[in-house]
């Protein structure tokens, strides 16, 4: 089911920033208010309210709000420069928002709360791998910072992403798609509930996309949450997907 509210609304914006300000930044605010299709008794695990990020005078995100219940995915779309990556990085606490509040598991939290970070795993555009280490060494480092994982489980995760054959080669020698597979194997082992993914299926071949799709579906089926900024369809069950459209710069 797709809920989409990416309309320009002057009224709620006026509470915060007066119209002249908006004009001067040359950008209109896009408040996005949105409720997922979860039943009323299902508490939203993640609630984000009025998130605004500015770069100097320029508004990157203006009063973005959304909620996401356990087992659901929020697919964030929008044109280039709409602030998809900034939104994801802000949610991870990597970018300091000018305003906005976060509720995680019905508790008010800072975006930089360590307990919230334990529940969260982020994969950016680039797979966070060390070029000179092998895939397996990278994986052990990434996952090991979060929890102890038995070598058999590492093997299983690599096998699931069909990365076993190249896991012991230096990442430098791997293709971009192979690197992504290693990164996804790590993601699966981190044990996080909330996955924040930036363009997750870029560089992957058909088979890779299918593997990622399986991984993501299983994550959702076991009560995980997923936030993904993407241009390509992820192939997830539409029943557990919500959509957030960032309208971006409006002339």
């Amino acid at each position: 089911m797709v809920v989409l509210l990416g309309l320009l609304l002057a009224a709620p914006v006026a509470e915060l920033v007066d119209a002249t300000d908006l004009k001067s930044v040359g950008r209109k605010a896009v408040p996005v208010r949105f409720r997922p299709g979860a039943p009323w008794f299902c508490m939203s695990a993640l609630v984000v309210n009025n998130l605004s990020v500015y770069r100097g005078e320029r508004a990157i995100l203006c009063r973005v709000s959304f909620e996401l219940a356990a087992g659901r995915a929020l697919v964030i779309t929008g044109p280039n420069g709409a602030g998809k990556t900034t939104l994801l990085r802000t949610l991870c606490g990597l970018v300091e928002p000018e305003e906005g509040e976060l509720h995680w598991r019905s508790e008010r939290r800072s975006f930089r709360d360590a307990e919230y970070h334990v529940d969260l795993a982020y994969l950016g555009h680039e797979a966070p791998l060390k070029m000179d280490l092998t895939g397996r060494e990278n994986l052990r480092g990434l996952v090991g910072l979060r929890r102890d994982v038995a070598p058999e489980r590492v093997d299983a995760a690599l096998g699931e992403m069909q990365a076993g054959s190249f896991a012991d080669r230096a990442v430098r020698t791997l293709s971009a798609g192979q690197r992504r597979r290693i990164a996804f194997a790590a993601l699966g082992l981190m044990g996080a509930t909330l996955w924040v993914l930036d363009e997750p299926v870029t560089n992957l071949d058909r088979a890779g996309e299918a593997l990622v799709q399986t991984l993501l579906s299983r994550h959702l089926a076991t009560g995980g949450l997923l936030l993904a900024a993407t241009h390509q369809p992820l192939g997830l069950d539409p029943a557990c997907c919500d959509s957030l459209v960032l309208a971006g710069a409006v002339p």
């Binding site: 990597l94 360590a114 334990v118 680039e126 966070p128 060390k130 280490l133 480092g141 910072l145 044990g191």
Partner: protein
């Protein structure tokens, strides 16, 4: 979904140290370059100034210290830069571990791979400058404490210059003035050791700088890295 045993701080630090060690083994050039630089710079002085050992001995503390400072600065540029580009630092921030702690582990690894080898090399390079081997203990103690403080100071600078393209020069300009006390007491300790006096007083002062750096620098470095990643 059920988290198995979450990783403790010590385990996290061990993982960071292991990773740095592995990386250094895969890229030995990066470890060897500062050491070679130190060796070449110190070896230039007898050639460029005078071969007379008595005269060289007088300038030996300054030469050894400035050489060691510049050599460790060379290495500092790589402290966080690659980690920032490949996304490792972001994963550190999001790991749920204290960033301060992880960066301290990284700084310790950095010192073990640059400061410690520089310290071990110094007495032998000192021989070319007329430093008697009897002064080796004093020279090494001073350099060990000094390079350790420098690594810590440098971690702040490296964090602050993360967002700057080609931040190497800026890093030197930020770090070197802060390193002046280390240079003053370090060179003094070395001088006393060469003359045959006890360098204890200067070493205590160096030690206090090292402890001060240990308590404050990782916090500042973590704050700087967070800003640098934005």
């Amino acid at each position: 979904m059920t988290a198995t045993t979450p990783a403790g701080s010590w385990q996290a630090a061990r993982i960071v140290l292991q990773r740095e060690w592995l990386l250094a083994m895969r890229r030995p050039a990066q470890v060897l370059q500062p050491l070679a630089f130190f060796a070449v710079v110190t070896a230039m002085f007898p050639l460029g100034y005078t071969p007379e050992l008595a005269k060289l001995r007088a300038i030996a503390p300054g030469v050894l210290w400035v050489g060691a400072l510049l050599a460790s600065l060379l290495a500092l540029e790589h402290l966080f830069r690659e980690d920032a580009t490949d996304g490792t630092l972001e994963q550190y921030v999001l790991s749920g571990q204290s960033l301060t702690w992880l960066l301290l582990a990284k700084t310790i690894a950095h010192w073990l791979l640059t400061g410690l080898p520089l310290t071990l090399m110094a007495p032998w390079l000192g021989v070319a400058l007329g430093v008697p081997l009897s002064a080796a203990t004093g020279v090494m103690a001073a350099l060990a404490l000094g390079t350790w403080t420098l690594s810590l100071l440098g971690s702040i600078g490296a964090g602050l210059t993360l967002g700057v393209r080609r931040g190497g020069v800026l890093l030197s300009l930020l770090t070197l003035p802060l390193a002046v006390p280390v240079l003053v007491f370090g060179a003094r300790a070395t001088e006393l050791a060469i003359v045959g006096d006890s360098p204890t007083g200067a070493l205590y002062l160096l030690g206090s700088l090292a402890v001060l750096g240990l308590t404050l620098a990782p916090l500042a470095a973590a704050a700087a890295v967070r800003i640098g990643l934005e």
